[in-house]
Symmetry: C2
Subunit: 144 residues, 2 copies
DNA sequence: CTACGAATTCAAGTCGACTTGAGGTCAAGC
DNA sequence: GCTTGACCTCAAGTCGACTTGAATTCGTAG
């Protein structure tokens, strides 16, 4: 019961088995051994998966996440790179907060065209100098 | 010169012309007329593109963004759906903030294995009940 | 000892969001 | 009036991140 097989990891982490195999293939996680054919994962993989989930949420590619957190729970990036990442996330937090405010504004102020409402424009202006997002991303269907 | 042609929109918004054509094709933005072959965009498209950038940052699909902001700068979603979205973004903000803290922690506390450091685990625990992110996403290469 | 079900491999497919390329059009400047 | 270069269309390609499917191998319960 120290070791988990893929089904259990999948269930506990909320990640599909195929995804776990894929993550192992690209070196994001590692199984410690095999029981017959079956991969056996150490329990720390659950923590690693949480970290991976966090990283994904912040918009990092799996590559970058791998570089940040390393395969073995060791962290490879130099301090200043990490702090840089943290800064970038802070910026993102500010922008997202502005977006949430913007949405609430839209819900409240039912002016015909928000594009002309001054407080709306102010929110937009606050949201970043130009139109380029802090990070370029691609997205999965998000069901509704 | 009220109207902008695609190159100008592209430059001012930091969005490739091919992307603008694509957005028009899927109905996210609209050109007001043509000058010969060339699309002519009204200036409000710049604001719309900013909104789109924000939406992308928050992890919404282009579909959802279209539903939220509508093609014409009119906002189609009912209030409560918007407030829901705002809530979701707030949650995301909290999680991202936790991630930034986590990264800073990693930079500071150079313990050999963070997976065992209690304050590290605490941060992770704060970051969400299970391993499933608030939104499933896919990502583009993010250059470094 | 056999059948079952959970796991395996590997190649191919999918999806969103674009980008690229070939080949064509057009308006403004010389 | 011809060239130039920014724009056009449309089909196909790309990329990251997975998922799916077919064919196979196990270990455990009956």
């Amino acid at each position: 019961m120290r070791l988990l097989d893929i089904g259990e990891v999948s269930e506990r982490a909320g990640v599909a088995p195929s995804t776990l195999r894929y993550y192992e293939e690209i070196g994001l996680i590692a199984s410690v051994t095999r029981h017959g054919l079956r991969r056996q994962f150490g329990p720390e993989v659950l923590l690693q998966l949480k970290l991976i989930a966090l990283g994904k949420m912040a918009g990092f590619s799996l590559d970058t996440i791998g570089a940040m957190f390393g395969t073995g729970g060791g962290f490879d990036l130099p301090r200043d790179r990490l702090l840089e990442k943290a800064e970038a996330i802070d910026q993102q937090v500010r922008e997202l907060a502005a977006l949430a405010e913007t949405l609430r504004h839209i819900a409240r102020c039912k002016a015909p065209s928000h594009l002309e409402c001054p407080s709306f424009r102010k929110l937009l202006a606050a949201a970043g100098r130009d139109g380029t997002p802090a990070k370029a991303r691609r997205f999965k269907a998000e069901p509704a």
